[in-house]
Symmetry: none
DNA sequence: GATGAATGAGCCTTCATTCAT
DNA sequence: CATGAATGAAGGCTCATTCAT
């Protein structure tokens, strides 16, 4: 029963994910989504109330997948170092696999409070997942540290997204680099003679 | 001071900065820019060929200001630690002062190659400024380290942008935190007992 | 008769024919066309990609009608004199019936190569139809003669277009005059005493 | 005194003649006219009240020149045949010399009653000049005959305007053809065996 | 007279959304 | 449920004209 309608629901989400991801919110037309999903334009509105709501749904599905996968991977690891490594690898590989969908993260609708709220929620959840790991390690400022770690990873992902020649091995290298830097700091690598 | 014709050019840039910053590219109407600048719609087009070109000009002015100010501040410092601190403070205070203009960084026109190219150039220049500091400190992987530091700062700025209650003192605290974490790593703060 | 969807297509062509014909290309607004056709502005664009394409379609339909009707009438006549008479009558009555649509022929969009090409094609086809008749009569310079005949008719139509008091009988009289003059020349009518 | 201002007046007319002629009324911008005339945009309005009035003035100057030259040439000829030949040559060579300015005749502003009236006046005057010649020859329907002759010439000019490879000799050949056809009719050239 | 910066009315076109079938 | 033809609001941009200098 719900199988058939879910099929269409998913087809729309998949189509929208592809199109929003490669073209961004404003450049993607509802008619393109319908065509890509193999259905009529009006049908999209039977499943999603508006273009913005569709974008929300795409984003939500994507973010939830991100968090769930992370959760699963973390449960298999037990040392702090391992867990931080898992986070780094997850973050970088997640975007590595989504090279083609950069616009999903950069070109969202501007003035949608619901989306803004959801993105804040997602960030909070992601951060809390990292905080939890750090608290197990006894961190004193876990939130700032979590934000910092995530921030490092997020910037290190940029070349992966925009440089087509990046390989999985490059991504892995960056994950290790990030883990090491975060744990030990830059000092190991520096000779802080006065400039 | 610098001439009457500059007045109107600047007025448009200022108006566009405010509006693009608070509403994003797509939500901002050229008529609003004109109204905010206190001129007629057609006049905007005497100074900027199109809406996209205006957005580019706003972005360029903003980014150039960011880099120039950073440069000036770095020249006054001499130790590596001081320079890293300056970078952190600059990054966080720059956005602190631009709380009202979030959208400028997040809601750009989607398919403008010129803008994409410019943003890549800006990021490269910012990174190279940090790389230079790190090289003076003898860093071996300066680019990855620079990206990581910038990433940390960029994430730490988020709350500043979106939480209206943040104060300058909060920003300063985060700057110090980031500097410390980057230099020494998280280990100082952790008790990595195996989970 | 020929389908519901054709109804709207035709309604737009009819409306555009009337408006372009009385106001010309530039003075006619797409909103007027829609209003005259009794549909919404956007609907026009479901049938015609642009204002220029709509003008082309109107022109093409009109010219094709002109040539087809001429062809039909010529097949019913067999002597050269009759055929020339038919051409003259067709030319003059065609415009007589289109008194209200002068501008269609005079006020086309300026720089549309497709339209220019089509008008050249139309003129060529019209001329060839006349050439064919003249060749059957053994003419030696059929193209120049055809152009000349058409030119006579085209000028004689002018008063018909612009003088509201012209009657069908006036048009017929002119058709006969043109045929006679073309066949026999002015000399019959002149007394070429040296001035 | 009036010399200097006449200079500017003429410069504007010359510029407008060139631009209207090659681009048509709607595609020609007042700023282009000013630039081509080597003066400021506002200055054009010191000499001509509006774009339409400027177009009128250009047209009027051109048409008056046409009629005056024709008049001069006719006075030098005395036989009817000569005069008709002069008319044909004048008509065809006039356009031959204006190959580059086709748009002046085809792309006029649409709804300007003053222009429509002037063009009608011009046509009347041209026709009367021909009528006068024909009356001297004793014609009985001089107006229709004049219109017919002018129409022939006008159509024969078309290839001259649009075919870049046309030479002055081609134009002359057509002029002779038109004169002959008009005087003697097509019959000389035809073998009106029944189709 | 000459300038050219400024004006603002006006139009083509797009596209999210609706609704009769 | 599905369709897709129809809608109409909305906005970027042009350009003839004006007027303060």
């Amino acid at each position: 029963m719900s199988g058939v309608s879910n099929d269409k629901h998913s087809a729309i989400l998949d189509a929208a994910y592809t199109l929003f991801g490669s073209g961004g919110f404003y450049e993607t037309k509802m008619s393109q989504v319908a065509e890509q999903a193999g259905i009529a334009k009006g049908t999209v509105y039977l499943y999603f109330k508006s273009k913005e709501e569709l974008f929300m749904a795409v984003t939500r599905r994507d973010c939830e997948g991100f968090l769930q996968q992370l959760d699963g991977k973390l449960q298999a690891r037990h040392s702090l170092t391992d867990k931080l490594a898992v986070i780094a690898e997850h973050h970088l590989f997640y975007y590595y696999e989504r090279k083609q969908h950069t616009k999903l993260f950069f070109r969202a609708p501007n003035n949608n409070p619901e989306l803004v709220a959801y993105m804040a929620l997602f960030m909070e959840q992601y951060m809390q997942a990292v905080v939890k790991v750090l608290l197990e390690g006894g961190a004193t400022e876990p939130e700032l540290m979590a934000q910092s770690y995530i921030g490092m990873l997020d910037r290190l992902k940029m070349d992966i997204l925009f440089d087509a020649s990046f390989t999985a091995a490059d991504a892995l290298k960056r994950a290790h680099f990030a883990g090491r830097l975060f744990i030990s700091g830059a000092m190991d690598n520096l000779h802080p003679s006065e400039g």
